[in-house]
Amino acid sequence: MRTFDPDKYEPEVDPDFGGRPETVAAFKEQLRRDSEGLPIGKVLPGKAIENDFGSCHRMTTTVRGALRRGDAEKTRQDLLGSVNLVRGIRDKTRARLVEQGFKTLADLEDHPRFCGDAKRIRELLEAGSTEKLTEVVGARLSKSHPKVLGLSGLHADADFLFLDLETMGLFAGQPLVVAGIARLGSDNTIVVDQYVVRDFPDELALLAEVNQQVAAHRVLVTYNGKSFDLPFLTGRSAYYGIKLKPPGVHFDLLHFCRRAWGRKRGLSLRRAPCDSEGLSPLSSVSLHSIEQAILGTSRETDLPGELVPEFYYEYLRTGNAGFLKPIVDHNRQDVISLVNVFSSLVEHWASRG
């Protein structure tokens, strides 16, 4: 029977949790020294913005980059030709219909049984109401089907909003600290706005800004936003009693990445997705894994997400804005990756037909 000697016992720290203590402590010390006494405006170049709910700090960066989202006309043609979007049509029926000469949705409008549904889908396409179309396509095929992502082709660059949040924790009763929003600028640029909470009274203003941006754009792109970012925003807005208009179309890239590059799970008869390109399926589809494996970029000193609360806490305690820098850098990189991952997904599926 093993006995413990209380005086010799050392508490175990989970090595996967939050980075190794020694390097984190050294990093913190360096940040503290570098930014001692500097105001936030010097450490995070930007300015304070005001709205009806208060003010917060905004940092704007512009980087070169473009979004690949598929050709509008091609998408339309592809959808018009997808007869299996109509309820009741699967492979067998489809084969039979093609034989009979019903190849597109337009043809189906003459069919006695399927005309109603086909007409409805065509009308949605013509009206360009991608919100309803994502629902239809998602329901008939799968929510993370390439065709759902393909619907992005029906939008203009200006419709897109890429969002990533940094918070004090996973629980919606804890505050937001940084919100990163990217929009597509003219001439192949990505404009990244990062809103930072200098102290918690700013959070309400930040929420109002974010909500306004989400309401102003028809397409929202996030990573794991369906499980985290959007419920978090909803909870936080409810906490302050302000309204959040739900996004029109929400592409959560995690699910698409899983479908495109993730590991085959369980007894699936589906062929491992990356085999044909010689890429083996990824065991982790976190944003970082995708960045490394697919985009081929890697971040040098990146703050792991779990340490964000700890660094923000240090900022609050010491008032030294240096601790905010890694959080903001991490967030900016996440948001820019969102754009690039989106493009990669579109290319990946475009190349496979």
Binding site: P6, P11, D14, F17, G173, Y240, Y313
Partner: protein, 613 residues
Amino acid sequence: MPDILTALDRLRQQRWYSGQIAGIEPLPSRAPTYAEPDPPLPKPLASLVEQLGIPKLYSHQVELLRHARARRNVIITTATASGKTLAFNLPVFETMLESRSATALYLYPMKAVTQDQLKVLKRFEQGLELELHPAVYDGDTPADKRPRIRQRSRLVLSNPYELHQILPYHYQWQQFYRNLRYCIVDEAHTYRGVFGSNVAQLIRRLRRICAYHGSDPQFFLASASIANPQELAEKLTGKEFVHVGDDGAPRGRTYLVFWNPLANAESSIHVQTQQLVAHFAKSGFQTVCFVPSRRLAELISRWVKEHTPELAVSPYRAGYVPEDRRSIEAGLSSGALRGVVSTDALELGIDIGSLDCIVIAGFPGSFASFWQQAGRAGRKLQDSLVVFIGYADALNQYLLRNPALILERGFEAAVIDLANPYIIKGHLACAASELPLRKEEVDDAKQPAVKALEDELALRRTPVGWIYAGRSRPDGGIACPPGSICPCGRRLPVLAHATQDRRPLDGHVSGHCQHGPHSSVGRRLSDTGTVPYSPPAGPEVPVGSSQPRCFPVAHVWRGTDPHQPGILAGLPAHPARTGHHRPGLSGPHLRVGPHHPAGPVRRLFLQLHLHHQ
């Protein structure tokens, strides 16, 4: 049913009887008192009551209805099986018939009871042809069922733990809270001591959220007999209450037998317990025996089975799989099970019908528990038997020599402290994470707690009020992985337990740790159970820090000194004891086991308390 006096005579003729009966006290029977509600019940409800086999309502049920209609809050303390459930369901369903949107919340301390109540509510719903979708929303409710319950259930059954977890998500329950008319709290006598103080603060948080959504529910509390029902109710909820205590239900004559096992020096107490249970079960009485520990329940049950193989006998305790517990309860209700040996798990309101004979082995620790257990005996107006076996210790023997103490029905008071700064602090942090804490809500009593939380950077002042800004959930809840927390090396305040259980807590306690890298590990405890710890070196650790640490632990004892109550934890003698630990970490950890008799009670307390040491 065979005659009790005859059975007692036969008992005296047994070989092993040598004068152990120290006394027999017949408790008088009571005839029922009926009453008619005025104005009468709406027709559908009246006919449903008749269909349920209840021709007339008891006086206490009608009194509760009268107060409920007058919009008063009521606490009812009539005996077990006196129709308390029907009493508070009548006003609720009357309202459900009138209003299309009204909702009601039912809170029970234990999950087992909620299933029974759900059946009752579904029967009402069916009988009245309403669409209320009564549902249980607690830790066992699967995630995919939750959204529908939030959207459409008008009757929700839950428990304080779950409520504590879901209050921050009140925006998902907006419709429910906006239309909340009734909040029913059952077994309110269990909410006493530290646990009760926590629940009192929890209910105030609930009322705060209801006020935010625009409702002010009426409270109905049901409780066992305690010395201060009105005070308890008012302290628990902060509202004014009316007490309904005059029991109109009929009671048959109960023979209370005081049994002193020491009169037979050769026979062990437990053997005598088994002999008594076997004797009465064989004589044709459906018997339940309450014993102080789980091990004893199984042991005595096994002995009884050995001696009476022809009878169906079973042990019962918390820690059994719910299906097994349901089947034992059903066996008791139907009469198939002739004998059950149980811990106090069977004391609370689980519906098992009434029994012919109750054997109470060892004083359960409080008069309230004693009468809860004894109250299980007695079907309608038939005679019943309660045998109290006094154990060898001083308290039990004193009671045997002074039966007046028990017979005078002195009930303990249920005490709640609303001013405990540790408890207030925890709940303030939670309240701030639900809605911003406004200045009007912070009175002088709460000022120091708010200041302390601000100093720890857990609360921050903003123009809309104080918001919660800690790095972990203030309730120390779900985000904390099991098995990852610690004794802080100091004495921790104790959990008050309704039955004043004397057993050592075996091994597992969990909560959220917020200790930084400098705390010391608790030293090894001796078997006597109380050890002074030296306070840990290093800085005070603030609320809401998020780095969990794991420490090995041994036994956790309830403190034995009433002036310095504490849960003390130490190091394990056996690393292999605890079954589950966080993957990647070796060594045993501190963890609340589901097999602990009051597992959830402790979790709630510990999560809040460990935070604010």
